[in-house]
């Protein structure tokens, strides 16, 4: 193993003051089994800055009321805060208009919405949908359900041994039968950054719409939906420092307008009689029922927090973390990194020849290190690499090189237990 980070990277963090960032996240002061928490499970969910926690608490303390219907003061305030968050999301991903931002529960619901509303309306028997071999189950199963419903066929673009999509193979799958493409932006199990711009361009050359699963991307990369040219972009709030239970579906207004509602209920209608119901305008057509108001407000606060940071510095810091971790973990005997793409973000998955990921996870936990151990809801990825499970360390902007050293020492303990 290599020497500690201080020796290897003197003043590595001079540009980006990670100590100050850490002060913003109260949970990072917690201890686990008497040891300082080292939180490397950011791919599952990120921690929340005080600004988000306070925004949610303030809403419940001082503004709580239902939105879009009250004539009273509190309802007006809550509506303004919730719709304000929609505007922040639009800016954050550079959508053209607020009406293209649909609030949903998370990435999973966003993909299901598109599969059911767009897919059931515009796909039929014999049509094909292309996904990749490194999708999360959330970007596999909704399409399988759709395929069963309409008789369409799922085609899977293969990945190479580094965990990269093979663009030539993907283009070969595109044909006149292809009616939809749904691909991840960053792989949750491997960390691969997918060249989605090229993937979208190739699909658009055939007039095929594309959904990008951005659940693991928005917290690491600057996303501009107009620059990418995607038709739909889905992501979750809780992986980007906002509360659980709120997420976003971006859709091009032209497509959203043609799609029927996903669920029926309040807020999504403009006029209801027993003979006929008129649906509300975008985005409300897709937002049935009282939404996760505090979640939306929390998401707005998370975007404010992120927007105040220098993304160039954040990316440099995250890149350094990943490079350093890759470097020191590669030196550990018997450890193999799964996912070695040239372009990666935030995720380091690995296996030991003779120790299962669960045992690694339990021993690391005893050292205060939180990682994910398992198949990461990406069982086909595990099958592709011939492993039952991996241990995944996933990083966020508040992690430090010293924490990587703690991980390395904890892995030393794993090897001691398992000889």
């Amino acid at each position: 193993m290599k020497a500690s980070s201080q020796k290897k990277e003197p003043a590595a963090l001079s540009e980006f003051d990670v100590r100050r960032i850490r002060e913003d996240f109260p949970i990072l002061k917690e201890k686990v089994h008497g040891k300082p928490l080292v939180y490397f499970d950011n791919g599952a969910t990120s921690q929340k800055p005080r600004a988000v926690i306070d925004a949610v608490a303030r809403y419940y303390r001082a503004e709580n009321s239902n939105i879009h219907r009250g004539v009273h003061r509190l309802s007006e305030q809550a509506t303004a805060a919730y719709e304000g968050a929609r505007g922040k999301v639009r800016q954050f991903i550079n959508a053209r208009a607020d009406q293209e931002i649909i609030f949903v529960r998370g990435t999973t619901e966003a993909i299901n919405l598109v599969a059911q509303s767009y897919g059931r309306t515009f796909l039929k028997g014999g049509d094909e949908i292309i996904i990749s071999a490194m999708e999360h189950h959330s970007n596999i199963v909704p399409w399988q359900i759709l395929c069963e419903q309409v008789g369409a066929k799922l085609r899977v673009a293969p990945i190479n041994h580094d965990g990269e999509i093979v663009l030539e193979e993907y283009s070969r799958l595109l044909s006149d039968k292809t009616k939809f493409v749904s691909i991840t932006h960053v792989s949750n199990a491997l960390g691969t950054i997918v060249p989605v711009k090229e993937i979208i361009a190739l699909a658009h050359a055939r007039g095929v719409p594309v959904l990008i699963d951005g659940a693991q991307a928005v917290q690491h990369l600057k996303v501009d939906v107009q620059e990418l040219g995607c038709d739909f972009y889905a992501f979750s709030g809780h992986k980007m420092f906002a509360p659980t239970g709120v997420g976003v579906l971006y859709g091009r207004a032209e497509l959203l307008d043609k799609m029927p509602p996903y669920q029926g209920g309040g807020d999504m209608i403009s006029l209801v009689t027993f003979e006929k119901t008129h649906y509300n305008v975008l985005p409300y057509k897709f937002e049935a029922g009282t939404p996760h108001i505090s979640g939306g407000i929390g998401l707005g606060a998370a975007i404010d927090y992120l927007s105040a940071l220098d993304w160039r510095q954040v990316s440099a810091h995250e890149r350094r973390l990943l490079e350093y971790a890759t470097d020191v973990l590669s030196d550990i005997d018997g450890l193999r990194i799964i996912g070695t793409a040239k372009q990666k973000a935030g995720v380091l998955s690995f296996v030991f020849d003779h120790v299962h990921a669960h045992d690694v996870g339990t021993i690391l936990d005893q050292e205060g290190v939180a990682v994910r151990a398992g198949h990461h809801c990406a069982m086909p990825v595990m099958q592709r690499f011939g492993v039952p499970a991996t241990t995944r360390a996933s990083f966020a902007l508040y992690n430090t090189l010293e924490e990587v050293d703690v991980l390395v020492r904890a892995l030393g303990r794993v090897l001691k237990v398992f000889g």
Partner: protein, 150 residues
Amino acid sequence: MAELDDLYQEVILDHNKSPRNFRAMAGANRKAEGYNPLCGDQVTVFALVEEGVIRDISFQGSGCAISKASASLMTAELKGKPESAAQALFENVHKMLTGEPGAEQASEKVGKLRILSGVCKFPARVKCASLAWHTVSAALKGEAQPATTE
């Protein structure tokens, strides 16, 4: 670290490294597959039951040290026992693993499997240890659906 040592005892590490009865069984008349949907652990249990007695029992699959050792210890314990004893043993093992009331008394009725009693301090690992038991239970009942820990 006392708890970690309770979990990864020598006997468990030994069963993980050299699992007993770790093979497919051609002549088995009971067989079931088990999955832990949370982690993807998978086990297949084979048994040869004659006149209500488990003459032979074996397993195959992939999983962590706890699930492998638990399956290995289970096969060693059940071989030669009547089918009815297997169910009673399962109930006691389950009680011991989950640490529910009566766990202490239950752990005294499970023979060598008592070595797994440390698992109850690791709630996330209880399903690892119980997967093989859910599976053998399904095999003996002749259930067609794969067993799960859910």
